[in-house]
Amino acid sequence: MASKYTFDAIVVGGGPSGTAAALTMARGGLKTVLIERGRFAGAKNFFGGVMYTHALADVLPEYLERKPPFERPVTEQGYWMLSPDSVVRIMHKSEHYKQEPAEAHTVLRAQFDPWFAEQAAAAGALLITKTTVTHILQDAKGRVIGVRTDRPDGEVYAPIVVIAEGVNNLLTQKLGLIKNDLPPRFVALAVKEYISLPPKEIQARFGLSGANEGAAIDVFGDATMGLPGTAFLYTDRAGLSIGVGMLLEEFVSHKLRPYEVLARFKNHPAIQPYLDGGKPLEYGAHLIPETGYDRMPKLSAPGVMVVGDAAGMVDAMHREGTNLAMTAGKMAGSTAIAAHQANDFSAGFLRQYRKNLEATFVLKDMKQYRRMTDFLDSTPHFMGTYANFLNDAALRYFTAHGMPKRDMEKQIVGLLQERRSFFGMASDMLKLLRAMRG
């Protein structure tokens, strides 16, 4: 059988997780092929995008010398809470963020992913694009031994296959590592536009001193029409990334069209001035798994491991994903190297991958926020109610009517009680606390 293997390892998908796995395995001396269905790595990707650098540094310590296509370092970040006509902003800006290398950057994946895949290729991985893996090949005992692609003579063999196929995890499903297709309740749909603006204009609008500063803003409340979800506004070098994400189920049950929700958000009086005069260059949509810790697929089986979005590795609470993906890719890669050294590709050996991952932030964070989706599910009013309250309260607080302040304070308390009973509020907070503590 061994002679049939063309490669030591096959990676399906050239996103952050797959590329991190391929890079790690290639550096570990494994003959690795990375198969990507898009015209180039990143062609099928789309995301908000803040990328946290720690995971990249872990996979590729010399990343800075390789000149990654970062847009701007994130030097200011925070939350905007919208009501239909107002906004309360909580922003954090710090000199600390200016230390180099910056810990977070805005990036555009159509640029970042090809660069990252190039690093894997430079490490010796073979990058094959424009090719879709249609089947995972198994031997009579069910061990994974390779993949079949949509090309003529399209089979390749390896004792290890890393599935990094992304959120639409058809191969993971076919292998039976997860029972069902993604239910609309556990997958978010994000729509985004890239709006081109001159760098100077961006800096003036967001109060940034130069191209070495950038802002990352998450927006709640009216941005998603009060429904569970978030919107975002990130500064790129010469453009803005603006988008809205909500659970697919919300779009369906409220009969909302994603582009209409985005258009509504863009026209909000607190948002529109930031976009004014910008040219939309790109519109796109992408699914984000919100499956959570308890509904993850099995992460390994004989000869195969699953990484990244395909395994639901997303922390929606902190809008993290690419860092979880890269760390998981690296873990899967190191496990594959160890498996080759031990010449053991069994289920038992590959279970190391999950075990190692449990010790990292990836599964620890996912475990901690395991109830987040349920929380939003059980308190669908949460975002809308409190964002509106904050804005109304701020209006009272910051206006002088010749009214005694004690009366104003009573009014504010009244505003809250109108919206939510004391017990309702207490239950919301308790649920939130529980969801955060895990």
């Binding site: 094959i128 090309r151 390749v156």
Partner: protein, 280 residues
């Protein structure tokens, strides 16, 4: 059998815009592709190789980025890719380009005969269709432009029968080999390349030829020095306006025709004959 295919990496003109001030293409940020006709030329060469054996060499003059295009040709089944790239080749017109490509083919001929030269009929960025014919003239080989099919191909008798598109229809013509064909897309439908080709191409490094090595080019004949063409002015022609539509369903046939005729007469395109049916 040795076929040489010349290709060009071009901006994907389905995405391209014109700078209204300078009249030139805005190339920045526009994805590049292999000139659509050229990839059919590569496919034809690969099919001939599959039938008669031999090798397919793909050559291109262009910036370093054009390496990608050569690798794509190797994916498609070519054996060898040569990038002819040097700053001194920059800003070449069709005269200078045909010199560089012809000189490259001559250098390849030193190592062994070249039996067939294939070019796309024109590049979609410049649309001149002059480089292929220019190379044929320089190499003194028969030129068959706008080829749509190879009816027969005999590498032993060194003959081929080619169908080429002409204004009146299709011309069927027998040629001696070597010959140079510039091809239409119909010459060969591009097949989805097999996976082993892609695996092979993923680690393939095309050769880089400069103005000095491995063969020296005459610097007087390349780049801007060797290009007598001067672009006086480039402009975007005004978009054509849509024509009027006469609805027979609404107006009835005779009124629609009468209205249409009236519009034509008004536009002074034709004059109607007089009432007697005689000439005006």
């Amino acid at each position: 059998m040795h076929s040489v295919v010349a290709i060009k990496q071009v901006p994907d003109t389905s995405n391209v815009r014109i700078n209204p001030e300078t009249g030139t293409l805005i190339r920045e940020g526009v994805p590049t592709i292999i000139n659509p006709y050229d990839i059919h030329a590569v496919e034809m060469a690969v099919r001939i190789k599959e039938q008669f054996g031999g090798t397919v060499t793909v050559i291109t003059m262009g910036p370093p980025k054009a390496m990608e295009a050569l690798i794509e040709c190797v994916e498609q089944g070519a054996d060898r890719g040569i990038l002819i790239s040097d700053r001194r080749f920059g800003a070449a017109d069709t005269l200078a380009t045909s010199y560089v490509l012809a000189h490259t083919v001559e250098a390849l001929q030193e190592a062994g005969p070249v039996d067939l030269l294939l070019f796309g009929k024109q590049a979609i960025d410049g649309d001149t269709g002059q480089v292929g014919p220019g190379v044929a003239a320089r190499l003194h080989v028969p030129l068959l432009s706008n080829a749509v099919a190879i009816e027969s191909f005999d590498p032993v008798a060194r003959k081929a029968v080619i169908h080429r598109k002409i204004e009146q229809g299709i011309e069927v013509i027998e040629t001696s080999l070597p010959a140079l064909l510039t091809v239409e897309k119909e010459i060969a439908a591009v097949k989805r390349a097999p996976l082993p080709n892609l695996i092979n191409a993923a680690s393939y490094k095309p050769e880089l030829w400069t103005a000095d090595a491995p063969v020296p080019f005459d610097i007087e004949q390349v780049g801007i020095k060797g290009s007598p063409t001067i672009v006086g002015k480039a402009f975007t022609p005004p978009a054509r306006e849509a024509g009027a539509i006469m609805s027979v369903a609404e107006k009835g046939l005779s009124e629609a025709v009468a209205d249409a005729l009236a519009m034509i007469v008004q536009a002074s395109v034709v004059t109607l004959p007089n009432q007697n049916g005689g000439r005006p």
